[in-house]
């Protein structure tokens, strides 16, 4: 509702999130040179996932907004992952 009270995030919180994002970026560049075989990709994806979560929750306000947005977003992400999973039923066993 437009009458609803809005949560106002402070500059400081935005800057903290930014800092975290930059640290994670640095980390993901750093781990690239560590040889972990297939796990390299996994780690890279986990780090990217962490960054994405930060952006979604804080920058995109999912933490403070109506819960419905968070639920929908989670649903969409799960849907996509399931589609990916089902597609690999084909490619993993060809």
């Amino acid at each position: 509702m437009s009458e609803e009270k809005h949560h106002i995030s402070s500059y400081k919180s935005h800057l903290l999130v930014l800092l975290a994002l930059l640290i994670l970026t640095a980390a993901s560049v750093a781990v690239t040179s560590v040889e972990m075989g297939a796990y390299n990709t996994l780690v890279a994806m986990l780090l990217a996932g962490a960054k994405a979560t930060l952006v979604l929750l804080w920058f995109m306000h999912l933490r403070f907004d109506n819960k419905i947005y968070a639920i929908f977003t989670a649903f969409v992400i799960v849907l996509f992952l399931l589609v990916l999973f089902v597609t690999f039923f084909d490619y993993s066993y060809r």
Binding site: L18, L21, T25, V29, L47, F59, N66, V76, F80
Partner: protein, 206 residues
């Protein structure tokens, strides 16, 4: 779920509706890029070595720079929303302006990045590329398509920023009516989200 909508005649302003609409639009974008990521996953799974070699051709430094500035720009739009909510027009304009400039810088970097590749014949249908074999063709095909569509979103974002910037200056967007800014911000974060995944997938594989 949410409270029942009370009287909401359609002349009435409903910011929440606009925001929901924006989120739904973001979902369509997520799936659109999702399918590109799906293709990437499939082809990388089938051509692991070629993708690794392809990844080494791509300049990590430009990638890192672009990642960092894009993250910063995401923070600055978020801050411009905070500024508007607090009624600080000049601050909002300042933050928004920063974002706008960063977006342009991002594109300039992209231009140089692509430029050098194209010079060497690394573009779809390019001689140098075709010699390198199937996996590499796919890798660069995806690279151009995915970062190209991403860049297209940046360009649209720039358009939106210019519009919103004008609106704030003209006081059309202000403390109590700022959905446009908010939605533009959401859109920009989406662009950032996509990049967060593009970056490791193309620049960091080795």
């Amino acid at each position: 779920m949410e409270k029942n909508a009370e009287h909401t005649s359609h002349v009435h302003r409903d910011d929440e509706a606009d925001k929901l609409g924006m989120w739904l639009f973001i979902f369509t974008e997520l799936l659109l890029f999702g399918m590109l990521f799906l293709m990437y996953a499939v082809y990388r799974y089938r051509n692991p070595v070629a993708f690794q070699l392809g990844g080494e051709e791509i300049d990590v430094v430009i990638g890192v720079i672009n990642t960092v500035i894009l993250l910063i720009s995401s923070a600055t739009v978020a801050m411009s929303i905070t500024a508007i909510q607090r009624g600080k027009k000049t601050q909002a304009l300042l933050f928004l302006g920063t974002t706008l400039i960063i977006a342009v810088v991002f594109l300039v970097n992209k231009y140089f990045e692509w430029g050098t590749k194209i010079e060497y014949g690394f573009y779809p249908g390019g001689e140098a590329l075709l010699e390198l074999g199937h996996g590499t063709v796919l890798f660069f095909g995806l690279y151009y398509i995915m970062s190209g569509i991403h860049a297209l979103h940046i360009i649209i974002g720039i358009g939106l920023f210019i519009y919103v910037f004008q609106q704030i200056r003209a006081e059309k967007i202000h403390k109590t009516d700022y959905v446009w800014l908010e939605n533009t911000g959401l859109y920009w974060h989406l662009v950032d989200l996509i990049w967060i995944f593009l970056f490791p997938l193309f620049y960091l594989i080795h």
